[in-house]
Subunit: 275 residues, 2 copies
């Protein structure tokens, strides 16, 4: 489950090409989305309750430029995105895109939404980017890379090690988590950790990959919400599964942990509430 | 309550001097605190449960350099800070300092903690700074100034206008808010707004001053948690009171609103739960 890169059989040159493309996608999304973040444009359109949805506009603009970039650079690859129809893959590879993960945070001006970009083969994500355009932070994982760049420099990503459940910091976005069952599963873990924090959207996965927190628990996810975090966290030494310990590639309930030991402590608490 | 600057009778030259000092305080705190944020130093010391508290170290380092700066530049002013003994004012002015507001966020690597700097006379805060060193964002209010500078430029701060309670976005840090009474007061408002978000620490007040959200409700505050936000928000056109509509200068329960109309809608919901 951890560093599951052996199954990736792409040659080095192709890996480098794909890594370059993934950065180009993040750059393009950033250019499309950032002018709308915290702008009067967002505000005015958000006030219009008669149908114009500003976040959909930013979402669509971000996904559109990423799809155009892929059409030009990787026309054989499939695309699964939040805003437009899926595009079937001819290469065996599919890009899984969420132009703005954390739309409520985006509307509220918080700097914790992100652009999520994953590349998947038939077994799941092999490369992921979590990009926070406002802070200018990028978290990349896959093809042997686990890398962070931000306003104060760059570093290798590595999850925290040797943390017990009682010492752990746990994040989720909303205190309701999902439905009542999701909430109960989350609470069982929350009551056993040192610190619980809320509201960070996909930024929570980035903090886990960078070794600042230890657990993220979410529910009611879509594939495009979780595939990029899976790739980044696995590349950094952590693990992500659904609440039964199976694959979380398709979304639903997910738990991300800094170590497999921590995951093993948490899964028995979550599995009674698994979908 | 709003833009209550008429009671400030400091002359222009003194106002400029004090504004310069407040920026120097924020710069000094930033230099002291930022190297510890997300560092191995923080992590290693945080693991040591036998007594060494890393956040206290960062807190103390930040407050110490601010006090040293004041000793040099404004030796007659008083100081009220989180970490050291109060220093009595000889000038009638007192600096109210929280070197790290949001210590739990700081430990978790989230970029939503802040350095809070206020200057108060006997009637309360007349100048405030909310500084987020990691993102390099500074929100300043007082002496006729309501100003933001950040990584993508500068602008005047102004709270949002013409927002009804049903359209409003409400933030608080922890879903528990405080004790059971605090929680019930918060829930009464939360059930009537459009969007509720969590986890932003003092950054929530900055978002309100900048016009991105409309309400912040907190409880169990200290004076140094709220005096800088009061000055910044009032300078930007918003208002901050306790849950009975009185002064929030001394901490406790606080509600910040983008407009006085919004505050008037919210206070009847909160006042039954006022301390």
């Amino acid at each position: 489950m951890i560093n599951d890169l052996h199954r990736n059989n792409l040659d080095k040159t192709l890996q480098e090409e794909i890594l370059n493309v993934s950065h180009k996608l993040a750059d393009a999304a950033q250019l499309a989305i950032l002018p709308i973040f915290r702008s009067d444009r967002l505000f005015m359109q958000n006030k219009d309750k008669s149908g114009f949805d500003p976040v959909t506009e930013a979402d669509k603009a971000g996904e559109k430029v990423m799809r155009e970039t892929l059409q030009r650079l990787r026309p054989e690859d499939g695309v699964l995105g939040e805003e437009f129809e899926p595009l079937k893959s001819k290469s065996g590879l599919t890009w899984v895109l969420d132009p703005i993960d954390g739309t409520r945070g985006f509307i509220s001006g918080t700097p914790t939404w992100g652009v999520l970009i994953a590349l998947s083969d038939t077994d799941g994500p092999i490369l992921g980017i979590i990009d926070q355009p406002y802070i200018q932070e990028r978290f990349v994982g896959g093809f042997g890379v686990a890398f962070y760049s931000g306003p104060h420099g760059s570093k290798q990503l590595a999850t925290r090690s040797n943390i017990s459940l009682a010492e752990a910091t746990l994040l989720t976005t909303s205190p309701e988590v999902g439905d009542q069952k999701d909430f109960l599963g989350f609470r069982g873990v929350a009551e056993r950790v040192n610190l619980v924090r809320y509201g960070m959207d996909c930024y929570a996965y980035a903090l886990l990959a960078a070794g600042h927190i230890d657990l993220v628990i979410e529910a009611k996810l879509n594939a495009y919400d979780i595939q990029a975090p899976i790739a980044v966290i696995e590349a950094a030494g952590g693990c992500v599964t659904n609440w039964s310990g199976g694959t979380a590639h398709d979304g639903g309930q997910a738990v991300a942990a800094a170590t497999s030991e921590l995951l093993e402590q948490v899964l028995p608490l979550l599995s009674p509430y698994a979908d």
